[in-house]
Symmetry: C2
Subunit: 228 residues, 2 copies
DNA sequence: AGAGTTTTCGACTGAGAGGCTAAAACCTGT
DNA sequence: ACAGGTTTTAGCCTCTCAGTCGAAAACTCT
């Protein structure tokens, strides 16, 4: 085992998208040892002069069109000296989100996998992926992070299915609409969508009001006293 | 400017404690260039064979008794290549909490500073410190993280003052008690504390039920449907 | 004993999430 | 065109829980 005095540095990303009604992660099959052939998270070494954000975007660009990654945030840093069998390597994991609908061209070695049925992943990538899912689920409660999973325009039913897939449990369309409207997270476009075959009332079309992450402030408990 | 092909790696910690009714951070005065004499966060280089957690604990041990740091968690990773004027350096910031009451021996160059009136800090340490405070404030809402700021036993009034200092606004003792009891975060010891001079009803003594971080689960909105 | 202090308890209020039902609006097949 | 089926939408109700207020409790000091 090579044990240099300086760790190598890699960036990784858990890239999630709702595909076919399921939360899926972008994985690629390793082309070299160790873990040759095993599925793993996209990423790679840090280069001189770049930030970690730039690094992970550069590595992701080799797999997907990075313009389609609508949100990217730091997830956690892994530093166990034995996490890589041959090299002292520190990994900075990011969480990336791709909106439903876009279907990026992928290289041969890359594909989507449902997070609920992951294959065996290389290194500690399995835990990292689950940590990414948990981060997403938590933030769905108190931020507008779903903007990065949803298409530009959508009906409440589509959004309900999206939330249900990400959260892993049913969501009520009625309640979802009320909560998100009350918080000012989504707004109506004024348009309606024609019903599919089989009929049904035409659904109103909505959009997210913001294209970046915002935290619902009124969310905290133990608030400051009302200033009367 | 030295621009090696591999970044150096340091760990830093924002160590917070409520002292004299104010949220304060542990800082030390740099003894070498750059930023000679400027206040900065404790930390230092990563050594071969250790994790980042071990590294920051080792560096903290040079400043305080690390057994007194009741909670330590990853905060963020700073990777701007220009954040250090001479070296390519990646910094992993941690958030550490010390309970009220303990008063560790400190070296000559080290002291506590109120976060609301920080001096000019070296590098990007000012922003990191404020990020630590925001993390603490957020987590006070939906976790039991206050266990790491509070002494083993306390009255509700003492806990109210502690929350008020950390949050930066008044907190109602009545409400605080109800919320924390209902969530099962604190429990009564059955004892009461003798009133000080001036009188007053003796206060009931409480303790936190858990000594590690726990998340209030019922906190999420868009919960799973009730299973009837 | 009375005045002053601090803690504690109970009741009230209001906001907001979750649930249910009925109505609205559309399609398809006869 | 009408009946029956489907999906969306709106209204109403309930329940939980945070926040507020006031009064009672329990103690000290003079």
């Amino acid at each position: 085992m090579r044990q240099s005095t300086n760790p190598a540095h890699v960036s990784l990303a858990v890239v999630l998208q709702i595909r076919s009604g399921a939360l899926q992660a972008l994985l690629w099959q390793r082309g070299r040892e160790p873990f040759l052939g095993a599925w793993s998270l996209p990423g790679g070494y840090l280069e001189a002069g770049e930030t970690l954000e730039q690094s992970i975007q550069r590595h992701l660009a080799a797999k997907v069109d990075v313009r389609e990654v609508a949100h990217l945030e730091q997830l956690e840093t892994l530093s166990d000296p034995n996490r890589h069998p041959r090299e002292w390597q520190i990994a900075n994991a990011y969480l990336g989100l791709v909106p439903t609908g876009v279907d990026p061209e992928l290289p041969e070695d890359t594909d989507w996998h449902p997070v609920s049925r992951l294959p065996e992943l290389a290194f500690d990538h399995g835990e990292i992926t689950l940590a990414g899912r948990e981060r997403l689920r938590a933030k769905l409660s108190y931020t507008n992070i779903a903007f990065a999973l949803a298409p530009p325009e959508f009906t409440i039913s589509e959004l309900r299915d999206l939330y249900a897939a990400a959260l892993g449990h049913d969501v009520s369309a009625t309640n979802l609409q009320r909560v998100l409207l009350r918080r000012g997270v989504i707004e109506s476009t004024g348009e309606r969508r024609a019903p599919g075959r089989g009929g049904g009332r035409p659904a109103a079309v909505f959009r997210f009001r913001s294209g970046w992450l915002e935290v619902t402030d009124e969310f905290a408990v133990l608030r400051p006293p009302s200033t009367k």
